[in-house]
């Protein structure tokens, strides 16, 4: 197990290094330099100082080494080009708290509802609760988040004046974004839990348990659910990612000052250091989440431990 974890951590670091390196050189391969439009009218000396401030006077290889050194030793991702004086790392940390609140709530809410719906659907296979759940699940997968957000805004605020359209800071601001963000999670989990449960119910050990005279409730609780939930952990990584990428759109629509909101605005501003920093941050978040999930999965499922040993 320890060997497996070490191997996975090494792969994670390699992946991160590749993400950072590729992103860095991609950002630097953009024709024209990020300061060109601002520095156009500056006197020669000022312009040189300006470039030197961001280290843009040095060759790309040297810039990369400096960037990596600052990142590893101080966790420093540089300074925003568009908004001088604004540290990328600080901005990321402040905004990620906002995104983490909506994203985290959406994830919890989504998993709770999705798992419940999945169980209901599996226990009532081919009856009306199953059809309703699968209808919701299909809706969650087929309706884009921005359409969903617009619809909710229209009905809850424009028509019935129940909730604020946009904004941040009050609890009622959270309701609509969390619903929109969790919709995809609900759909994914409902489908996944249902199909897993149906698969487990066909296994021989369930038949054995029933033959031994275990009550139906205990069969579901101790045998079906335990085995059906395990694989659900593996899609959690993808769900975390989708909550964050979903936040690009949702945060923009609801004007939530989170990571996604700033990522999109830094793209529109062509704020290269911000884009680079946020990409690295997102990549790291995603890769670390995947690693943790793999490890948790290995700990929870004894079968995985044996496989890892082989």
């Amino acid at each position: 197990m320890v060997k497996y974890v070490i191997k996975r951590v090494l792969y994670m670091l390699l992946t991160l290094l590749i993400i950072i390196t590729v992103t860095f050189f991609m950002m630097h391969s953009i024709p024209g330099d990020p300061l060109a439009s601002m520095a156009r009218n500056l006197p020669e000396q000022t312009r040189e100082n300006y470039y030197a401030k961001y280290g843009l006077d040095k060759p790309a290889g040297e810039q990369y080494l400096i960037f990596m050194e600052n990142l590893i030793t101080e966790g420093d991702l540089g300074e925003s080009i568009r908004y001088p004086g604004r540290s990328v790392t600080d901005t990321l940390l402040t905004n990620s708290r906002v995104s983490g609140t909506t994203g985290g709530l959406a994830l919890l809410f989504g998993i709770a509802i999705g798992v419940t719906l999945g169980i209901v659907a599996a226990l009532n296979k081919n009856k009306w609760p199953d059809y309703i759940v699968m209808f919701i699940a299909i809706m969650g997968i087929t309706i884009p988040a921005f359409v969903m957000a617009a619809l909710l805004q229209y009905f809850f605020t424009v028509q019935f004046h129940l909730l604020p359209t946009t904004g941040w800071g009050r609890p009622e601001n959270l309701v609509l974004p969390v619903i929109v963000l969790s919709f995809n999670t609900i759909a994914t989990y409902a489908r996944y839990v249902k199909s897993n449960m149906l698969e487990v119910m066909n296994q021989d050990y369930i038949l054995t348990a029933e033959a031994k005279g275990v009550t139906p409730f205990n069969v579901i609780k101790n045998h079906v659910l335990r085995n059906a939930f395990l694989p659900c952990i593996t899609i959690l990584g993808g769900q975390i990612a989708s909550v964050f990428t979903g936040s690009f759109v949702v945060e923009r629509i609801f004007s939530i000052p989170g990571l996604g909101f700033y990522y999109i605005s830094s793209i529109n501003d062509r704020d290269y250091t911000m884009i680079l920093g946020t990409t690295v941050f997102f990549g790291a978040l995603f890769v670390v989440a995947q690693l943790l999930i793999d490890i948790v999965y290995g700990v929870l499922d004894p079968r995985m431990r044996i496989k890892a040993k082989d």
Partner: protein, 319 residues
């Protein structure tokens, strides 16, 4: 036989049948081995099973109608999709403008189908590119095996662990040309990884199966084994992957266009139309309604079609 005759009185005395009543009708033509019923090919069988799935059939019909409309739709009411009519801004659906007009007075009926062309073209092209690349990559990994396989799959693993939309956004920022070509590049750059994994997994599984061993034992040439046995069995996986890939690409493109990184004006896509309608949604909800409905309908149809195809093509369900 004995029990049946028991109750029917005494058994009549057997008279030996004279030999000349028997004629030899031939024993050397192996007629017992002939297949009497017409042979059902794999695809005919799949089609038979697919037809039984009414939902998938409806989805297929909806998609067919959609494709036809996308081809003829922009010309149906005689108003070009980029034509600006200053006298008809933000009009609701009417006899002249069937889906209404947008904030520049452009006819939404024509625009929606024109947008559909771009969206569906991107979906199909993206799925085809990722299928071709994925098949070759996965095929090479499975065929050569050993260290080639290890290295190729490690690369896929690393690419796979980078959030997809992050790459797409990054590439579209860097290329910055907003053409369909750079959009396709951004969308397919890592989109093929999933197909590569699927194809490799399927090929590896097939390589060790009994029917391939049997074919080898019977002396079938490797080329024919790949063509006759491996490929049809992989086809089902690939085909299902394509049906799920297409809506994913349409979705990703809609997402990019929504963020303003997708297709550039005057051309448009469903995502771009939704994005444009978002600002005035409270006043002109119909502007969002039609493109959103078409995205949802396309996604739904492809998802249901994919489910149906998976059930129809899975040879393990054959009875």
């Amino acid at each position: 036989m004995a029990e049946e005759t028991m109750g029917m009185g005494p058994i009549p005395k057997e008279e030996p049948i004279p030999k000349e009543k028997f004629t030899v009708i031939g024993t050397d033509d192996f007629s017992g081995d002939l297949i009497a019923r017409p042979q059902v090919s794999y695809w005919a069988d799949a089609w038979r099973r697919f037809r039984q799935n009414k939902i998938a059939l409806v989805a297929l019909v909806v998609l067919a109608v959609m494709v036809v409309m996308v081809i003829i739709g922009p010309h149906l009411n005689g108003i070009a999709f980029e034509e600006i009519d200053q006298d008809a801004l933000n009009q609701g659906p009417s006899a002249e403008h069937w889906f209404g007009t947008d904030n520049l007075g452009r006819d939404l009926f024509s625009r929606v189908w024109q947008a559909g062309r771009v969206s569906i073209a991107i979906g199909i092209a993206g799925a085809l590119i990722s299928t071709v690349v994925g098949c070759i990559y996965g095929g090479i990994a499975a065929y050569f095996g050993g260290w080639v396989d290890t290295i190729l799959m490690r690369i896929v693993e690393v690419l796979f662990s980078i959030p997809y939309l992050l790459i797409v956004i990054l590439i579209s920022v860097i290329t910055d040309s907003r053409s369909i070509f750079s959009l396709m590049l951004a969308l397919t750059l890592t989109g093929w990884c999933n197909t590569a994994r699927l194809v490799r997994g399927q090929m590896l599984q097939l390589k060790n199966q009994e029917f391939v061993l049997a074919a080898q034992a019977l002396g079938v040439s490797p080329w024919k084994i790949i063509l006759k046995h491996m490929l049809p069995n992989t086809m089902s996986v690939i085909l299902v992957a394509i049906t799920f890939d297409i809506p994913n690409y349409i979705f990703s493109e809609a997402f990019l266009s929504y963020l303003g990184l997708g297709i550039a004006a005057p051309n448009t896509s469903w995502g771009a139309l939704c994005s444009a309608a978002q600002q005035t949604f409270a006043f002109y909800p119909y502007q969002m309604f039609f493109p959103a409905l078409l995205i949802a309908l396309t996604m739904l149809s492809f998802t249901l079609l994919g489910d149906g195809l998976r059930d129809a093509l899975d040879p393990k369900l054959r009875k």
